[in-house]
């Protein structure tokens, strides 16, 4: 039961990532692309956690934590760049 549920959840996360990628390619404004990238980070974290449960390994959580931190910092940097024109004033 659990392996079937994990497979279904992985399929849903892949569909979500495909939708985010569509918005990333299509997005009319720069901020749509930034938002799509931010959502892709969050969905990638969920996908990594699902893979960790499937393989029964704890190693995936370190990369999930790293992706969470890098994703937040990059979103803030991109927003700052859009707002002010440079990142570190």
């Amino acid at each position: 039961m659990l392996s079937l549920a994990i497979l279904a959840a992985i399929a849903m996360m892949l569909a979500a990532l495909a939708l985010n990628l569509w918005r990333l390619v299509r997005g009319p404004s720069v901020l749509d692309r930034v938002l799509a990238l931010d959502t892709m980070y969050v969905n990638a974290i969920a996908l990594l956690v699902l893979l960790g449960v499937q393989r029964g390994s704890r190693l995936y959580f370190e990369s999930a934590l790293l992706i969470a931190m890098v994703g937040f910092v990059s979103t803030v940097a991109l927003c700052k760049f859009v707002l002010r024109g440079n990142i570190i004033e």
Binding site: M1, L31, L35, V42, N43, V53, F61
Partner: protein, 145 residues
């Protein structure tokens, strides 16, 4: 592959994982399908965060039951995500208002000042905060779109 768990724990973990993935898929669907940027901001910032929280809760329960001790990394990731997602959504909204990204009516959102909408729509002008009447209504052709 997956180890052996008690049936109840396995059912709860499966339900949490499926529910979380469904919420994340809903958020991404909103990001792909809604009409303007301010609507699209809602899906990822609420639904996807809740979905990832559900997936992480299922994973934390799985490893906690299997190893007999509380598993910390998922709780760390969950706390970090729940702290940072509102901050990044706030920054994105601020940047969109700064860039005057058009909303669904075509008007730049920053052009809608306080009171201009209701006076232009024919509502009686309310007095301002200091007793004087509010600013006169803008002519209706000022609003773009």
């Amino acid at each position: 592959m997956t180890g052996s768990l008690p049936f109840v724990a396995e059912a709860i973990v499966s339900a949490l994982l499926l529910l979380g993935a469904a919420f994340a898929l809903t958020g991404s669907l909103g990001l792909a399908r809604l009409e303007d940027f301010y609507m699209r901001l809602h899906g990822p910032s609420k639904s996807t965060t809740l979905g990832v929280g559900g997936v992480l809760a299922g994973s934390a329960l799985y490893f906690s039951v299997r190893q007999g001790e509380v598993s910390m990394p998922e709780i760390l990731v969950t706390a970090f995500l729940f702290l940072t997602t509102p901050a990044s959504a706030h920054l994105l909204a601020k940047a969109a208002l700064h860039l005057r990204v058009p909303n669904v009516s075509g008007a730049p959102a920053a052009a809608r000042e306080r009171g201009r909408d209701e006076t232009a729509a024919g509502a009686p002008a309310r007095p301002g905060r200091d007793g004087r009447p509010a600013a006169p209504a803008a002519p209706p052709d000022v609003r773009p779109g």
